[in-house]
């Protein structure tokens, strides 16, 4: 198991394992990654442990990368979901701006009818992005806003609809049912909708990200994952377990609070960042 090179440098192993743990990779996934890295070292004696680990992480992430491409349907409908405060509304603003910049007529649906000033926040982003926005009174039924928004988008022949949902902890059954209902209503208003279901994760969250992804994915088919707040010092290592155990792909990363602060997911850069 230790390879023809002989005994693995114990202090290097400890240092690299700790680097992975500090990147929120988690003990189980870190162990698996080390095992895979050792396998690589068996096959290629020239590799050192760090290079082997980075290669193993890159390979895992590269095979779990997805595109976010608003085409193939009109309107193309995306639902954005995730726990409280992970950056959904801001990300919707950024992605809507990108759509509008590419000449796609874009609508935002303020399906967060619970939180104070949620619709007002999205309305500012709509204006910045050059998109229209549909909202309801605070306390209204989110599924009703989604229905109204999608009907309006079809009537106006719009290209893209981004549905911003309320933050919800995956442990709250009533809020998860609400999410299921939102997704059902999408399909009824626009056949095939939502065409993309984007789960947003906060890179500063630790092992709970795996529980979040698992629970949301059990309820609603997740098309891809976005990792936000990677402009901080958090490395977002929990996504390795999500790729490994759940097979969910990552499409975009959030890199700040401005309208252009995001990028397509780059597996190699991400893997490098873990160390």
């Amino acid at each position: 198991v230790l390879g023809r090179r002989g005994d693995l440098d114990a202090s290097a192993l400890e240092r690299l394992e700790e680097a992975l743990l500090e990147a929120d990779v988690g003990p189980t996934t870190a162990g698996r990654l080390v095992a895979r890295a050792r396998g690589r070292m068996d096959q290629d004696p020239a590799l050192d442990l760090e290079a082997a680990l980075e290669a193993a992480a890159t390979e895992l992430l590269a095979s779990h990368r997805a595109d976010l491409s608003p085409r193939g349907a009109k309107p193309w409908v995306a639902v954005v979901l995730g726990v409280n405060g992970c950056g959904k509304t801001t990300l919707v603003g950024k992605l809507a701006a990108d759509c509008a910049r590419h000449g796609l007529s874009t609508m935002l649906v303020a399906a967060d009818t619970f939180r104070a000033a949620a619709a007002e926040q999205l309305m500012v982003w709509a204006e910045r992005a050059g998109a229209t926005v549909v909202r309801a009174r605070e306390g209204g039924d989110p599924a009703a806003v989604v229905h109204d928004g999608l009907e309006a988008s079809r009537a106006r022949g719009l290209d893209v609809v981004w549905i911003d949902t309320a933050g919800r902890l995956h442990t709250k059954r009533n809020l998860m049912s609400e999410l299921e209902k939102i997704v059902r209503v999408c399909g009824r208003s626009v056949p095939g909708a939502p065409h993309h279901t984007l789960l947003v994760l906060d890179a500063t969250v630790g092992q709970n990200s795996l529980a979040q992804a698992r629970t949301f994915a059990e309820l609603v088919p997740i098309t891809s994952i976005a990792i936000n707040k990677l402009d901080g010092t958090a490395r977002g290592g929990a996504v390795l377990a999500i790729a490994d155990e759940l097979g969910l792909p990552i499409s975009v990363v959030g890199l700040g609070e401005g309208i252009d602060d995001w990028a397509a997911f780059d597996p190699e850069a991400f893997a490098r960042g873990l160390f």
Binding site: E22, V83, G85, T171, T233
Partner: protein, 292 residues
């Protein structure tokens, strides 16, 4: 759970009158794993294990408990001791108003906590004024204003375009003039590595002459907790901690990391989205949760 895993380990080494160093080592490896899974930061977990090990070596195996239960007991006691086994309340200043300044990373729950704190203080018979120095996030001031209306407490709104430090100064004047007991100041979320915004925070603290600076941290925070805690404690100076979103299933190891690195008390736990979803910190419950 951890008890089961520890018992399994010790069962292999039964027949001992005392916990041997070897059996303790193996048991502690398991405890370390549990702490890491609970998001306790790597160095904090290491330090914690060393301390428990020192207490475990030489202990007699109690007849009433399995060695596994005994080690868990030691771990739990040490966790509670570190988390803060003494309840700490929000200190009021002898001169009114007591100014509480909130700080933390983006999305950690500061604005919501501001509303919750105002509601809590109202229930305690205190008159609270809320104000927001967050001129950056779209509709941030509206958000706090709405929460203030829901909590039925005072809200101070500065004129459009007023800069954060000036908002703070005017809010303090307003709170003093109208005889409020407490002024709770909400600030914009900021990264601990954002130089200009960390400088702004220092400026806001000075402008407010804040009595209490509370660091509001998302209870699901992972390894970052140490970096965040250290940065705000060293650069801003904080008086207490608030852990939010503890109504989820995150194990909450960030609590231990934050306590270790800041030395400040955890005052409150946010346990939901509504204004009354606030609890005083309970170290026993958080310790149990970290252990899983």
């Amino acid at each position: 759970a951890l008890t089961g895993r520890l018992d399994g380990i010790f069962r292999k080494l039964t027949g001992q009158a005392r916990l041997t160093p070897e059996s303790i080592q193996e048991g502690l490896r398991e405890v370390r794993r549990a702490l890491l899974e609970a998001d306790v930061q790597v160095a904090v977990a290491k330090d914690f294990i060393t301390r428990v090990e020192a207490r475990a070596v030489g202990q007699e195996v109690l007849r009433s408990l399995t060695p596994g239960q005994q080690v868990i007991g030691l771990v739990r006691d040490e966790l509670i001791r570190l988390l803060g086994d003494r309840p700490v309340t929000l200190a009021g200043s002898p001169h009114l108003p007591t100014v509480v300044l909130l700080a933390g990373l983006q999305g950690s729950g500061k604005t919501t906590f501001a509303g919750k704190l105002a509601h809590w203080l109202k229930n305690a018979g205190k008159r609270t004024l809320l104000a927001s120095a967050d001129v950056y996030r779209p509709a941030a001031i509206e958000q706090l204003e709405r929460l203030g209306a829901q909590a039925e407490v005072g809200f101070f709104r500065a004129d459009e375009g007023t800069q954060p430090a000036e908002i703070v100064r005017r809010a303090v004047d307003e709170a003093r003039r109208r005889g409020f007991d407490f002024l709770v100041l909400d600030t914009a979320g900021r990264l601990h590595i954002d130089e200009p915004l960390m400088a702004e925070l220092a400026e806001l603290k000075a402008a407010a002459r804040a009595h209490q600076v509370l660091l509001v941290v998302d209870g699901m925070t992972g390894q970052e907790a140490v970096r965040i805690g250290r940065a705000f404690a060293e650069r801003t100076g904080i008086d207490g901690l608030v852990l939010t979103k503890m109504d989820g299933d995150a194990r909450g190891g960030a609590a231990l990391s934050l306590r270790q690195v800041t030395g400040k008390p955890i005052l409150f736990l946010g346990v939901g989205e509504k204004l009354d979803a606030l609890e005083a910190f309970d170290p026993e419950r958080v310790a149990g949760r970290i252990l899983g």
